[in-house]
C-alpha cells in the first residue's frame, strides 16, 4: 500500500488528523539511511522497535546491526544474545515465504563498562590504561554514573559507524524516564568531567587554576575532602591527571558524537505509547529534534488498543448487553458486548490522546502498531511488529 492510499483509507493505521503516514519500508529501503535511533520514554517499546526494524531491514536486503540496551530476557535469548557483549552476533533469521531473507542482521547488548574500558585501552599506553582502569573513581564513573550508559551508547554507535562494516546501524536508547536524556546525558557528563572544580582538583596546587579561582577554592576543596574523605578526592585527582593526558577535552568528544546524529543518513524514530506521559515525552522530543536540527523520520505509536468492531459504539454495546441480561438469555453475547464496551472506551481515549499529538505536530509522519495480547519475545513476534510498522497496523 502506498503512503497515499494508507492515508486516504479510514483504516485505523492511518495517522489521524490527516498527518502523513510514516513509511517505514521506504526509510529502510533507502540505501542512504545509515543510522536509525529509536528513542522514547521507558517501557514504550524502544528495544522491541529497534529489533523489529532490524528484522525488517534484513528482509529489505540490508546488512543491519542493532545495538540493544537492556532487552527483555526472552527477547534477547531469541536473538541469540545471552549476555552483555560488545561484539555484534549474527541473528539466525527465520525464512520468510520459504526463502532466507536477502539481508543480514547482527545484534549486540551494550556493555557500558566494557565500552568505556575499551576506549581507555585504545587511547592510553598500557601502563596508564592500567592506572585508569584500577582507579576507584573511574570504576564508579564507568559502571554507575548517570549518563554513562547514554554516553557509551553514542560511543558505540560512533565506533560501528567508523568501522565502515555496517550498511545500517540501528540504536536502541537506554531505559531512562525521559527520552531527552539520550541527547543530554553525554554532554552533561562531559561538562562535569571538564568542570572547573574537577580541573582544579586535577591541577597541582599553586598553579594557575588555583590562583585564578582565588582563596575560596582551598576552603571548598578542604570541605569536600572532609565530607567525602581525602581518599576519594585523591582518586579523583589521579583520575583526572591520567585521563586528561590521554583524552584532552571530554566535552569535545561528546560533541563530536552528537554531530553524527545530525548528519545526513541518520533518522530518529520516536516511539510512544498512547498514554498521557509517553505522548508528552514524545512531543518534547519532537520539538527538541527540530531545534537541534536532527532528522526525525517519524513517530511510532506502539501498543495501541483497537476494538474488533469499530462501528459498534461502546454505549450501544452496553445497552444491548443490558437488554440481553434482562431476558436472562445469551450470556456469551452479553459478556462479549460488555468486553467490547470496555475496549471501545480504551480505544476512544487513546485516539483522543493521539489526535492531540497529531494536531500539535501535523507534519510529523506517524504509524500505529497494535498492542499484542502477549509480549514480543521471539523472532516471529519481531517480524510481525516489523510488518505492522510497514503496513500501518493492518493485520
Amino acid at each position: 500500500m502506498s503512503a497515499e492510499e494508507a492515508a486516504g483509507a479510514a483504516a485505523p493505521g492511518a495517522a489521524p488528523g490527516g498527518a502523513p503516514v510514516f513509511d517505514v519500508d521506504a526509510l529502510l529501503a533507502d540505501r542512504d539511511t545509515r543510522i536509525i535511533v529509536c528513542c522514547g520514554s521507558g517501557g514504550v517499546g524502544k528495544t522491541t522497535t529497534a529489533a523489529a526494524l532490524g528484522v525488517r531491514a534484513a528482509e529489505h536486503g540490508r546488512g543491519a546491526v542493532v545495538i540493544t540496551v537492556d532487552p527483555a530476557r526472552r527477547l534477547a535469548q531469541s536473538m541469540g544474545l545471552t549476555h552483555l557483549d560488545n561484539t555484534p552476533r549474527p541473528v539466525p533469521l527465520p525464512e520468510a515465504d520459504g526463502a532466507a531473507p536477502p539481508g543480514t542482521l547482527h545484534a549486540m547488548m551494550l556493555d557500558m563498562k566494557r565500552t568505556f574500558d575499551e576506549i581507555v585501552e585504545a587511547h592510553a599506553d598500557p601502563e596508564r590504561a592500567r592506572q585508569i582502569l584500577a582507579n576507584p573513581f573511574y570504576q564508579s564513573l564507568s559502571s554507575s554514573f548517570s549518563g554513562t550508559q547514554e554516553y557509551m551508547a553514542m560511543e558505540k554507535l560512533g565506533q560501528l559507524r567508523q568501522s565502515g562494516d555496517w550498511d545500517l546501524i540501528i540504536v536502541d536508547t537506554p531505559p531512562s524516564r525521559s527520552a531527552l536524556d539520550f541527547l543530554d546525558a553525554p554532554k552533561r557528563l562531559g561538562r562535569f568531567l571538564d568542570s572547573r572544580l574537577i580541573r582544579v582538583l586535577g591541577a597541582p596546587p599553586a598553579t594557575g587554576a588555583f590562583k585564578l579561582l582565588g582563596a575560596g577554592v582551598s576552603m571548598v576543596t578542604g570541605i569536600i575532602a572532609k565530607v567525602v574523605g581525602a581518599q576519594v578526592l585523591s582518586d579523583v585527582q589521579r583520575f583526572v591527571g591520567a585521563f586528561d593526558a590521554v583524552f584532552g577535552g571530554f566535552q569535545e568528544r561528546a560533541e563530536r558524537t552528537y554531530r553524527l546524529l545530525q548528519a545526513r543518513g541518520t533518522g530518529f524514530v520516536v516511539v510512544a505509547a498512547p498514554e498521557g506521559d509517553a505522548l508528552r515525552e514524545a512531543a518534547y522530543f519532537i520539538e527538541r529534534l527540530r531545534r537541534d536540527r536532527m532528522p526525525l523520520a517519524g513517530v511510532m505509536l506502539n501498543r495501541v488498543h483497537r476494538a474488533g468492531v469499530p462501528g459498534l459504539a461502546g454505549d450501544a454495546a452496553l445497552a444491548a448487553a443490558a437488554e440481553l441480561a434482562a431476558t436472562g438469555e445469551h450470556p456469551l453475547a452479553g459478556a462479549a458486548l460488555r468486553l467490547h464496551a470496555e475496549r471501545a472506551r480504551v480505544a476512544a481515549r487513546e485516539r483522543l490522546l493521539m489526535d492531540r499529538l497529531a494536531a500539535a505536530h501535523p507534519e510529523v509522519p506517524a504509524v500505529e502498531v497494535w498492542a499484542r495480547p502477549e509480549d514480543v519475545h521471539d523472532l516471529a513476534g519481531l517480524a510481525e511488529i516489523g510488518r505492522a510498522l510497514a503496513g500501518g497496523a493492518e493485520r
Binding site: G43, G216, M219, V228, G308, H330, L339
Partner: protein
C-alpha cells in the same frame, strides 16, 4: 513495621502505591511521613499541589483523623544541613553552593548522595516528639514523631545498592559524621522495622525485575515486605468462556443468536469481530495468570490495586488507600 520502602520498575506505580500505602497506614489517627528521594516531585504531581519544599508538609487526611505528611528529600539540602549541624558551617554552605561544590561532592561520591537521602528517611523514623534538635539524642520516653515512614524509592534496578548503605560508604571518609551517620542509617534499614515492597504490573518485564530485585534485596540482608500488583484489570468474562476462547473454540453461532436477539445490525460480521476481541482478551488473561504463577513462586504476601480507568487523580488516592486497608495494611 515503621519504615516501608516502595520500589518497582519505572512507571509501574511506585509513587501511587507509596501514597496509597501511606494513607492506609495513617488510618485510625496515625501520623505517616511519605518521603520521595529522586527529586522528581512525583508526590506533588500526584496530589496536584505545588512542588514540595525540603520540609515536611501535610498532604492528605486519612480516615479516623490520620494524617499523611510529605517530604521531597534532596541530597544537596541534606548535605548543607549536616554541615551546619556538625561543623556549624552555615556561611560556608553559601560558598559551597556558589562553587557548585555540593553538587560536585554528591556527584563524585554517589554513595554519599544515597546515604544522605536514606538518612533523611531514617532520621524521621527515629525521631521522637519534642526532641531538642535533630541529630541530637532522642528522648526514649517520648512517642515517635511519625508512626510510620513510607519511602517512594528508586526503581528496582538501583534499590539494593541504594539501601545497602554500608557498602555505599565503604570507599568514603573512614571517620567523621558521614560515617557515623551511615552506621545509624544502616541500623534502621537492616532492622526488622524496615520492609521493602515491590510494585509490579502483570507484564513480563516488570515481573521479572521484581523477582530479580527481591533476590538482590534479600542478598543484601534486607527484609522484603510484599509484592504489590498494580493496575489489575477486573475479570470481564467467566473462566469457562475464557478457556473456550483461548482454545479457539468460541461458539460463534451462539454469539450470532445473541446479537440477533439484541437487535444489533449485521450480526455475523459483528460476531466475528467480537470473537476476535474475546480471543485477545483470553490470551491476555492467560498471560497474566502465568505471571501470577511466577510471582507465587516467591512466598510473599500479595497486595493488589485495581486499574483505575481514567488514571489516578488526587481524589483517588484515598480510595486506593482504602483498598489496601481492606487487604490488611495498617492492621
Amino acid at each position: 513495621m515503621r519504615l516501608h520502602v516502595v520500589t518497582g520498575k519505572g512507571g509501574t506505580g511506585k509513587t501511587t502505591a507509596a501514597a496509597a500505602l501511606a494513607v492506609a497506614l495513617a488510618a485510625g489517627g496515625r501520623r505517616v511521613l511519605l518521603v520521595e528521594v529522586e527529586g522528581r516531585q512525583g508526590i506533588a504531581q500526584l496530589f496536584g499541589i505545588p512542588p514540595l519544599p525540603y520540609a515536611e508538609r501535610p498532604v492528605a487526611d486519612a480516615p479516623g483523623g490520620g494524617r499523611v505528611f510529605a517530604l521531597a528529600a534532596d541530597a544537596e539540602a541534606a548535605l548543607l544541613e549536616y554541615l551546619e549541624m556538625f561543623y556549624g558551617m552555615r556561611r560556608a554552605g553559601q560558598v559551597l553552593t556558589k562553587f557548585g561544590a555540593v553538587d560536585f561532592a554528591t556527584t563524585i561520591a554517589p554513595g554519599m548522595r544515597d546515604v544522605l537521602l536514606t538518612g533523611k528517611a531514617t532520621e524521621a523514623v527515629r525521631r521522637r516528639e519534642g526532641a531538642a534538635r535533630r541529630g541530637g539524642r532522642e528522648p526514649a520516653d517520648r512517642p515517635y514523631a511519625y508512626d510510620s515512614v513510607v519511602m517512594d524509592a528508586p526503581p528496582t534496578g538501583r534499590v539494593a545498592q541504594f539501601l545497602n548503605v554500608n557498602a555505599e560508604v565503604a570507599g568514603l571518609a573512614r571517620v567523621g559524621p558521614i560515617r557515623n551517620h551511615a552506621d545509624k542509617v544502616m541500623a534502621v534499614i537492616r532492622s526488622p522495622q524496615t520492609q521493602v515492597h515491590f510494585v509490579t504490573v502483570l507484564e513480563e518485564m516488570p515481573a521479572q525485575e521484581t523477582l530479580d530485585g527481591i533476590a538482590e534485596v534479600r542478598a543484601a540482608g534486607l527484609n522484603v515486605g510484599s509484592i504489590l500488583v498494580n493496575m489489575v484489570r477486573p475479570p470481564l468474562l467467566e473462566a469457562p468462556v475464557l478457556a473456550e476462547a483461548a482454545a479457539g473454540g468460541l461458539d460463534l453461532d451462539a454469539l450470532v443468536r445473541g446479537l440477533k436477539a439484541a437487535g444489533l445490525a449485521d450480526p455475523e460480521a459483528t460476531a466475528r469481530g467480537l470473537a476476535e476481541e474475546v480471543r485477545d482478551h483470553a490470551v491476555r488473561v492467560a498471560v497474566e495468570q502465568r505471571i501470577r504463577a511466577r510471582l507465587d513462586e516467591v512466598d510473599l504476601p500479595r497486595l493488589e490495586l485495581p486499574l483505575l480507568p481514567d488514571g489516578v487523580r488526587a481524589a483517588d488516592v484515598g480510595a486506593l488507600g482504602a483498598r489496601l486497608a481492606e487487604q490488611g495494611v495498617g492492621r
